[in-house]
Symmetry: C2
Subunit: 179 residues, 2 copies
């Protein structure tokens, strides 16, 4: 069975970005981490077969100085095909399928572990019960407002805590599975 | 110096109650805790000198089968005086002062550690930089919507992680100090 995984850094009040999408607050904390410390990100990334991104997050990520999804196929979910006309980083393809259809195709193609990234995409996959694990790293800051990682749901969702760890620099990372 | 402390249980998406104020989801989890396990609440409560509550939370708490603030003076912050006409649990008084004025009075009275409880009151004390510690116990559930523990802020607030612990039944408790 193909499985979808989320790995996010969030503020204590639950935001993954400011209202305008900026993550300056997170970059400030990351810049102060001990050399080589990535809070398990490289290991998580290595265990994934591909990345599924929302269109907005894709456009945001294109503005970064470095393409963050090296060495993995990246599928951008977009209902329009205009992005396909632009020059894209290597390994990027587009899909206008629904999340469930896309996962069926990816499973047929032999993919097992999908890294689902981007605020709105995470919310829609969660609403569709398509996420199997969430790793949340809590950064010790309150932003007051911003983009939430979690959105509305049709009903409560109970999760299973698998691991919890904290660091002296104040991050707490919890991994939850969704039954 | 008088200090204000917060001790809250919150859902993974940051809510302390449903939109209508219900905490049935939390009571369900609490009912399944090992006998005698209170995740540090009794010890926290014991170390407090008094409780400051918002009016709405006070009215909510009055509907509980048991008065939860036994043995401590409770000050209910209310701009109207009508509550003073009703029969109240022992130890309850009302104040129409501002938070800062109330804390000055409590400090003059010799109080050192104040337990600030109730969603809206926590938010306003936080906005006024009057909170010195927050203990958050994260319950492994997503509610999708509800009453947030944190509100808007004038600027970012950086916190200091003091302790983090987790339990096999899935709760994670972090204590942060506000510098």
């Amino acid at each position: 069975m193909i499985q979808c995984h989320v790995f996010v850094a969030i503020s204590l009040d639950g935001y993954i970005a400011r209202e305008d999408g900026q993550i300056d607050w997170l970059e400030q904390y990351n810049a102060l981490l001990p050399k080589g410390e990535d809070c398990g990100y490289a290991s998580f990334y290595e265990s994934m077969d591909c990345v599924v991104l929302g269109r907005k997050s894709f456009e945001k990520v294109l503005s970064f100085s470095q393409w963050p999804y090296s060495g993995k196929p990246v599928i951008v979910m977009s209902r329009s095909a205009k992005e396909q006309m632009l020059a894209q980083p290597q390994g990027v393809t587009f899909s206008s399928k629904t999340p469930a259809e896309l996962l069926t195709r990816l499973e047929d193609d032999g993919f097992k572990n999908v890294y689902v990234d981007g605020g709105e995409l995470i919310q829609s996959f969660l609403q569709l019960n398509l996420i199997q694990s969430i790793t949340m790293t809590r950064i010790p800051i309150l932003l007051g407002q911003g983009k939430s990682v979690f959105g509305k749901l049709d009903s409560d969702k109970k999760l299973l805590l698998k691991t919890s760890r904290s660091w002296s620099f104040g991050f707490v990372q919890d991994r939850y599975d969704l039954p």
